[in-house]
Structures are given as C-alpha cells and as structure tokens.
Amino acid sequence: MFIHETIMHRLQHGCQTMAYPDGPPPALPDRHGGALRVEPAKCAEGCTACVPVCPTQAITRTPGKPVALDLGKCIFCAACIEACPTKAITQTGKPAMAVRRREDLLLGQPGEEELRLAIALDEKLKKLFGRSLRLRQVSAGGCNACEADVNVLGTIGWDLGRFGIQFVASPRHADGLLITGAVSRNMELALKKTYDAVAAPKIVIAVGACAIAGGPFAGNPEVLNGAVAVVPVDLYIPGCPPHPLTILDGLLRLLGRLG
C-alpha cells in the first residue's frame, strides 16, 4: 500500500518544475525590490543623505561628482531608498543582476544608472560548458544563506540538472568554482588549493555580497573582502543572499542560454 500511495501522490502532483526559462519566471516577493537604479540627476545639490545610512558603505559621494552606488557591496536593505528625499535611488523590481566585470556593478555615472548584465562566455568556453557545467561549491566565510539558496536550485521546483548544471564533490570533477562568503583568512589556503585542483579551462562564480566584496564583514581583519583576493572571478551575482531566480538567471546568462 505504501508504495502505491506514494506513487499515486506523486502522480497527482504532476510535474512541479517551473516553466522558466521557457515560460515566465516565478514572481519575486512584492517587498523584494530587485536591482537598484541610481539617477544622480535627481540628487539635491550637495545632498549626502544616503551615504551614512548604508551599512556596507556601498554609497559614496565625492564633492562635485555624482553619487556612486556599488551594487557589489550592496545588501539590498533599502535604507538608502528611505533616506533619499528626491527618489534618486529606486528599486527596479528586476531579478536579473549578474555581471561579468566588477565595474559593471558600479552605478551613478552618466549612462550607468543600472547594472550592465553579463554577456555569455566566449564561443570556445560556451562549446565546452554550455550544455554541461560541473561546479564545485566553496563556502569561505559564508553565513549559509547563499549556500541554502544555491541548494534550492537543485530541488524539484528549479531542477538545475535540466540545464546540465550540477554540483560535484571533487574539484577534479569540476569545470569551475561557485564561491560564497567573504573569504575568511582561515579559508584562504583551502580555497586556493581547491581552485588549483580544478583543471583548466575553468570558471569562477562569486555569489552574494560577501563573495563579491566582503558584504557586512568588509574591512574586518579576519576576511579578505571577497573571492577576487584569491582567484580570478568570471561572474558576480549580487544579493544578500541573491534570490534563487537571480542565481539561476546568472548561470544561464553565462552559458548563453537566455534569449
């Protein structure tokens, strides 16, 4: 009876994997807000209201220059949005946030009001990894939230395996690393060794504010302020943690699998 009931139950549920990316993406929570947009033209003269409220010092304003927001440092707490008297910083509601170059997360210069989304790997790497990407995950001073939402991608709702992407147990089996955490000094050696153990060509993906720039722990002497201190990074996915949709969007974008 047990097996019969279990099978019947699964049949009733049907396929629980989401239609995305062929269909619409799952909706973000209404209070999520998505990526940020900065329009320095709207800033009041000499106003620096957003600067001191940012917990991770992601916002700077040098006198005579436009306000600058670094989405790599941002933990998306929205304190700046509440502090801004002129709505120069706004939420776009967009889940896509992954970029290839660190500077593509810097907002504020003319024409750079929003982040510049990642382009796909070059043709050679796309041919190698595009339909089969094996990643070794390394948590190096992560808080287990980025790790948890990476893990979620493996569940039946997201089913990462359908894209040929899989997390493997050994760096020897991997095509690259997915790194979370601010990179604690105590993990520096292990991260370096894991990277060296992956055969070339290899890619590195930094997931979350910590892995990009140290997140809330940036500046603590016990951390190295992100993965780039130890290894070269090919894809940055912001958030604290990034929503699973943001992570998946980034992976698919890198592999050139989004239209």
Partner: protein
Amino acid sequence: MNPPREFLLLSNGTGVPWADVPEWPVDEFITATAAGLERGGRLCAWFGVPENSATRLVAVIAFDAENTLAVGRSAPVAKSYPSLTLLHPQAHLFEREVWEQHGLVPEGHPWLKPVRRQNGGHPAVGEFFRVEGGEIHEVSVGPVHAGVIEPGHFRFQCNGEDVLHLEIALGYQHRGVEDALAGGPHRATMSQMETAAGDTTIGHATAYATILESLAGTEAPLRAQWLRAIALELERLANHTGDLGALANDVAFLPTSSACGKIRGDFLNLTALLCGNRFGRGLVRPGGCKFDLETERAAELLGKLRVALVEVNQAAEWLWEANSVRTRFEFTGTISSGLAAEIGLVGLAARASGLVRDVRFDHPAGWHRFAPVPVAVWPGGDVFARARMRWLEIQRSARFIEEQLAAPAEGGVFSGLAASAGDTLAVALVEGWRGEVCHVALTDAAGKFRRYKIVDASFHNWAGLALAMRGQAISDFPICNKSFNLSYCGFDL
C-alpha cells in the same frame, strides 16, 4: 569584605548595572559557578572582559526550572585559574575560548587547544587526539566538504568501520564578528547580526534587538514582538522541513527528500512575504520591526502556511512508515539524557534526549510571555528522535502561527530607541530553530559595547555530534551530522 554568597538573578531580556554583578576572587568564583551548575544550573555564557592588563571572567547561568538567569564575575585574573571543566564538562569549550581570546589558562583542562583562530597557518587544527594500534586508521575530512555546505574539519579514529573517536576542528568561517562589535553598535552591526548564522537570521537579530532595547530601558511595541515571534516560527518551519528532507536524502529515501526540498522553499517564501527576504533580513530592527503584517497579507500567509503544512505532513508520513528509514534512524547516534545534561546540549538535540529545555518556555521574553509554547520532547536521543522532534515542532510552530494570526497585537511595529545605558550588562536568550541563541552585552560609561558575547546553539552542541559518533559505523556519520545540523559560521563567528 566578605565575598557575596549568590549570583545576581535577572530575567531574560533585561539588564543590570555592571557594578551590581557580584564579584569573587577567581578560585571562589569557580567554586560558586560550580555550585550553581550542581544545583541544576546550565552554563549559557562564559567569557572574559579585559580590564587593564588582566581579565575578568563572567558567567551567565540559566536555572531553567526556576525561569531565571544568574550572573557573576571574578576579580581580574592575569594568568590562570582552576579549570571548571574538570567538575562540569559543559564548560570545556568556553574555557578553551577564553584561553584563546585572553590567554587565561584553565589549569587542569584535559584538552586545551584553539577554538577558531589562526594557529600556525591553519585554523584550529593543531594536535589531534589519536588512538594508537596496528588496526587503527585515521580518516580526515574537510575543510571543503562534498556538498554545498560550510567548511569544517572532522578527524575520525577508526577500527575498521567503527568510529572510536571523532574530533571536530572548526574556525574556518571565522569572520571576526565579536571583535567587530567592540565600541559599537556600528553601521554594519545589524547586518552582521543578521548574518552571524544566516539560517538563524530572525533568532540572532531578535536577540540583538532585545539587547539594545533592554539597554535603552524599554521594549519593542507589542505588535513588533508578535511579528518577531511569528517570524521565528517560520524560520523553524523552513529549517526543520529542510532537515527532514536532508535526513531522508542521506538514507536514499527520495520521495520525502524531494518533497521537503520544495516545501522548505515554500516556507522561506512565507518569510519573504513578510519582508521581501527569504531569510528574514530587514525585518527585525532595534526598536521593533521594519515591516508590518497587514490583514490581507496575514490572510495570504495563513492560506499558504496551511497548504505547505498538509504537504509536509504527507512527506513526513512516508518517512515514518518506511521500514528502510526506521532501521537506519533508530538506535543510531544515541545521546542519553544524562550525557546531554552533562555536556550542556540545548535546543532540539537536548529535547530529543528527553530534556525539557526551551527558552520560549523556560525563559519567556517578548511575545512568548503572552503566548506560551508547549515544549515538545521525545526520549531516545538517537537520529530517529532528532528527526521526530523536528516533525513535532513543525506541528507546534504551525499551530502557534495560526493562533497568533487569529489574535494579533494592535498598534505600531516600530518606536525609536533611547541611548543605551552605560556600564550595564544585558542578556537576551532566543530559542532559535537549533536551540538557544545567547547574546550578552556589556557597555562602557558612554553606552558603547565594551564586550559583546554571542553563543549560538551550535557552540554547545558540536560536542554532542562528536560523542554521538562513538561506537557508530563511519558510514552513519552523514545522518548523525544531519540530525544535529549545526552551524559552522554560528560557531566560528
């Protein structure tokens, strides 16, 4: 002057003037602490406070049956003191930590080595306990593990398949959380508290907010306390559900594994419904909550909660009915109630060994003063008991949320905070999903943090996992590990 006779009593979520905390010469302080533990106390926190070139020891003891906490301190000590661990093993890691942080040697400590910091190029490793003999082999695992999980190092001493001894060396996730709090609160402090152990964001954020509120001589608006209590149970639901799935996965029982993976995400989405973040970041703030739960949103929450609860109950039923699962879970990784008490286990691991130990019940603060939570307990202390505890608590948490949603507190969710009182010691305990989250703050004359101590449930419980593995087959390590599911970063800080 005669030394004081008793520790100073206080309740959870309150502060006392530092000058009122009774002080003993260090030898007598150890005796007084041991006496408190002997009459049923439990060591919540044990830490050093630097003073000039010496260090004061501070003990926070919980008397669960009397619903009260007690605090005492030693006179400044420069070099060493007689180890408390010899009398009460639950102090073993605290004494190692104080030695590492302040250089005070607990004389007679049986296994004095670093806890988390850099030590000759490698964190926390040093010498391992070794079993000698021609038949003995050593298995070394980590810091990088096989799955998408945090780093730590496990060293097994094995005779064939049997584990004689397991030593767990952590520290790889050390981010300097406590050091960064000195002189605070700082701009990043709230975010650092929310990420001290990221799967316990609500637990740690609530403890921190409670500390600041008690230092300001106030409390959060009732509606904020109500909302925090709901969020705390959502956090428990998500993690317990995920753990049931992970336990099922480790015995290759895929129906429950795949169902729970998805349902866990559904619970995380309920937290995101509150504040936009699946882990509850941005919800709890000193002085209240940043978001309210309006009537319509509450109705949506309740509807989705009920759907997820039906699904998780179905998935759990498969687990309990499968003989193949029971035979792996039962009598595996057993911790007796006596051993659990001796090593100071907290949270669901303690309750799964039959101990009635739950901050929401024993030391109610915040909304739990008005909405008591019955303590779920299961005897046995094995993997099955710890799995079963999760299922029991899933029932209680869901019921609690339903009851609270039916009777919301009125009013606003946020009020401003006065400045923190100077030279004050405040203690806040929260029953996070793993167990007790303990924050202790001591302010300087200006009301800034002179010392801030964080004790995650994992700090107490890692020793439980090590002992649970004694006499087990090494192949049972994954399910023993998952049955505790302890935090690396919450321990490493």
